[in-house]
Chain length 479, copies 2
């Protein structure tokens, strides 16, 4: 088994990403156009992200349900903007049971329409509101150019769909999910700082009134949209006749929202934290948080150190997720490398000499080489390792935040914008319309990532039109 080769970030960032995905055994292409196989190690990371999200989705009052995979084409066409956005990307089911189907179905690209149809039957009175439903599902969209996790024809996601009595309540929900579910999970679990803001008209979801987004910076300075939350106004309520009888006994249309995050998050996680040695995982989403590698030169030593390694794991109990690597046919060096490539946050080396001195050598993945190595007394090792994991989680977050801070530029002129966009985010006063956004995209391949939720006060001159404006924007190239 040869050492996996990983292209350095500086040489070819895009190839580096593909190398990490392969070397860490996260996913691979399949024989189905644009679709990947999520391999066990990649899926275990997704399970941790998913469970963290699911807990927060439930804690904020939502319930899970499941709606059909297939959507009748007639549903999709009911909301004009929506069908324009999604029909060109459709995967179509035209035959069933050996016969042509009377109506074509589309594999769900998103479920506003089929859930809207259900809500129109479920909601009768204001007492049925708010209706707060979430679904974990696979969805499919036709994609010309794919990249593992970041852009695939099939992906896994959750999609929240809610209906409310008032516009204000729908807006509050949209922002609550963005802040308390999405930003909270991505920052505190995935250790990835995000900017929060609103999409422009040009960039919003097909069928939404307003789309909010969280955006993270990758190590090449590009943005990755990590989650979106849509205030749908009454667009889908009108298309699907979602009405309720108000407390004043009048018939009213609901106000609805939808919001989603996907396996794309795994792409963000990989790109934001990893290094030239391999994957780097924040402990909260590491399937194995601590790998214990017993060392030996004889069978007697093996027996002794493997037993001690198991004891250490047993002492840890539920404090952390540990694994003892006692494979016989591999050298310690090979094992260290393998766990490094797989991003395990802490490695514990346990040899006969360590045992004799009552200590273990502990190496942290986020600080490779000598800097990250230190001995812990065996007696207090599990407490110390637990504290170390907390420290690693915070350090990884801080590193990503520092990187973003040093790659975010306040720009006032076209020339400053040109420079900024080459290496990171450009924050600016921006007064342009969709036409201006198109021109900027053509010239610099950059888009408005968001209009910040909490912009600086005051006003300034738009870097592009020169007009005075109170509107702030963050531009970047993006995935």
């Amino acid at each position: 088994m040869p050492k996996e080769t990983i292209t350095p970030r500086a040489a070819d960032y895009s190839q580096w990403y593909l190398d990490i995905v392969r070397a860490a055994d996260l996913s691979e292409n399949s024989g189905v156009r644009g679709c990947m196989i999520i391999k066990p190690y990649g899926f275990a990371i997704w399970e941790l992200v998913r469970d963290a999200l699911d807990a927060r989705i439930k804690a904020t009052g939502h319930v899970n349900a499941y709606f059909p995979l297939l959507i009748p084409m007639s549903y999709l066409t009911k909301e004009a903007e929506h069908v324009a956005g999604f029909a060109p990307e459709a995967w179509e089911v035209t035959r069933g049971g050996g016969e042509p189907l009377p109506e074509t179905y589309v594999i769900r690209p998103t479920s506003e329409t089929i859930i809207g149809e259900a809500f129109s039957r479920w909601i009768k009175s204001w007492r049925d509101l708010p209706m707060l439903v979430n679904q974990w599902a696979n969805v499919m969209r036709w994609e010309m150019r794919t990249r593992p996790f970041l852009r695939t024809s099939e992906f896994l996601w959750q999609e929240g769909h809610t209906a409310h009595v008032t516009e204000e309540e729908a807006e509050r929900e949209t922002l609550m999910v963005l802040n308390d579910v999405y930003a909270e999970t991505v920052e505190n679990v995935m250790a990835l700082p995000v900017l929060k803001g609103m999409k422009t008209e040009k960039e919003k979801f097909a069928g939404a009134v307003r789309t909010y987004t969280i955006e993270a910076m990758m190590q090449d300075g590009k943005a990755l949209q990590s989650g979106t939350s849509h205030n749908l106004g009454q667009n889908f309520a009108r298309s699907f006749d979602m009405k309720y009888l108000s407390s004043a006994n009048t018939e009213e249309y609901c106000w609805t929202t939808s919001w989603g995050v996907s396996t794309r998050l795994i792409g963000a996680l990989i790109m934001a934290h990893s290094d030239d040695e391999g994957l780097v995982l924040p402990p909260a989403v590491a399937p194995i948080q601590v790998v214990i590698v017993p060392l030996w030169r004889s069978d007697a030593e093996r027996e002794q150190t493997v037993a001690a390694a198991r004891r250490l794991g047993g002492d840890a109990g539920n404090r952390f997720r540990w694994h003892v690597d006692d494979r016989e046919n591999l050298s310690p060096g090979f094992k260290y490398n393998e766990w490094e490539v797989k991003g395990v946050p802490v490695r514990v080396e346990l040899g006969p000499r360590d045992l004799a001195s009552g200590s273990v050598m502990v190496a942290r993945r986020d600080l490779p080489g000598r800097d990250g190595k230190q001995p812990f007394p065996l007696e207090t090792a599990t407490e110390r390792i637990e504290a170390l994991l907390t420290d690693i989680q915070a350090s990884i977050y801080k590193r990503a935040l520092d990187f973003r801070t040093s790659h975010t530029f306040e720009v006032e002129t076209l020339s400053e914008f040109s420079d900024a966009i080459e290496s990171g985010f450009a924050a600016c006063w921006f007064d342009g319309d969709s036409g201006a956004e198109d021109e900027i995209q053509t010239r610099w391949k950059a888009t408005v990532r968001l209009l910040p939720l909490e912009p600086p006060q005051g006003q300034g001159a738009c870097f592009y039109t020169g007009r005075r404006t109170t509107r702030r924007a963050v531009f970047a190239r993006s995935y």
Copy 2:
């Protein structure tokens, strides 16, 4: 809101089932042919079943992964029996991105083929074996007549796929999953006793060498196949070139297995335990195990009893899943009925008089009416309720087991068989071939559910052919 009407079992068992599904708000039909919507309460039950299975699947060494939804038609046709079994039920995807696809895809009816293709690339040496993979997924099969949970065109399931070095190891895996994962979960979590056995040639999975099954008895005496585990021999290994280099340095085909259970289990759960009042849920799969209903005649009393109800719930902590029903616009009687229909195992009534006397009235769902009601002292209520839940779980299991025992008949003659099959399982010596099975199915609508794993010793005369045989079978009508 009118009281939900539930047809009594004795009047129309089939309608009773549909009434329970509707009244307990578990699922409903959708606008997509043969596909249901799993509503939040039904999905919460599925989540509990799924999590119990997932824990056991992982505890027995399997890892989760995710494979594409779509299967190239060319994969499906590689195993002859398999394609014959599944192609007629296929949902076909023929267009993508607005164009006809170069190759037709099938929405996975099961994933032996696409996972087999992956395994052929993943497995190189005996050191890579056993390969123990599981997937949670949606699948689709064309169905002419559907019934919620029991038979739907789309359903949710898990499918395990494993590859082994020897035939014996594959056989051991097939039986281990049947016993330690499936029977264990269905009996101890879903409180549903199962028979374990092997399918006949006629009834086995398309492409398997041997199919093992667990079968449960419903309250109309019919069998419901609740999980199957297949020893696939080298059939798929040969079709997909799944080879490994043995420790003796020779190329060998793997021995593979596959096994699955689905949302069908929810149908079994409903049919086996529920009564004419509504759903009955074993506590282990009840989303709400204890509903606490505070009673009041004045605002002051309301404040007092709602606070006490919350305190009781708070005391319970993680001992059980509780919910305080403090809705203002509904009468206690309405609430009692609603939670009864929804199968909540324990109801706690808490009024001002109870508070004054330091006790609460506790009602168990599995014993409706006076028999199931008793007062608990408030001080020890949470411990008592916890113990009661354990008792209810055991009682529900025992009731199902007693029912099965009293509806299982040892038969020796055609006339005994005729009688037995009208009300339950017919256990017998059976020496017939597929032809005999066909004749029996035509005449009595009954099939061999299984050849028991642990048959009685000895031999007897086949009830059908009259020949002496050592082969035992259990016949029944089935869902």
